[in-house]
Symmetry: C2
Subunit: 114 residues, 2 copies
């Protein structure tokens, strides 16, 4: 995933906060993660995503509405990835579905030092 902010619109929209702990068996994980991102990008209502991992991984994906999230959850190839994730890659995860109500943005101005 490109290391940058998701270009989300004015709220309200939705966030899926996916936090996870990985197990040992990592084969195929990176490919699957990349593939799921490609698929999500083509999914109706997808607005963007932000991702980071140390030991705990967090991916926040942004969606137009809950119906878009529901359809993505049911997408066939994504369902298979969910199954493999539980079987192979994750020892535990949390998925939180949240309605974004407000957004504040900070960008350092050019020539602002540092």
């Amino acid at each position: 995933m490109k290391e940058s902010f998701a270009g989300t619109p004015e709220p309200p929209y939705y966030a899926v906060i996916f936090s996870s702990l990985r197990g040992e068996g990592g084969e195929g994980y990176a490919d699957m993660a990349r593939r799921m991102l490609e698929l999500a990008q083509r999914q109706e209502g997808y607005l963007g995503a932000e991702s980071a991992r140390v030991e705990l991984g967090i991916t926040v994906s942004y969606w137009k509405d809950r119906e878009s999230i529901r359809r993505w959850k049911e997408q066939a190839e994504h369902r298979e990835a969910q199954r493999l994730g539980k079987e192979r890659w994750y020892t535990a995860f949390r998925i939180r579905i949240a309605r974004v109500e407000e957004e504040r943005i900070f960008e350092r101005e050019v020539g602002d030092g540092n």
Copy 2:
């Protein structure tokens, strides 16, 4: 921050999704981040937090309601940290305030392989 999931209650509650890009001048950052976490933990309405960073950092903190978030934003020492963050540590950030409506949990069962 301990590498584990936040022990959040049944929804609804609130999430503050803080995604950030760091600049070069990192002195004092780790101490301040640790101190802010300690302070937040003592703040009314604080429910927990999850954090990860590669280049992009994501910290999601969880709160009882928007009033708790507002009070935390106004807390004196936290305000000073916000000021230093903009001046010194972050080149850019996004803060999204979101109402968590649903949570799904997966925990691999003991003896479930891998």
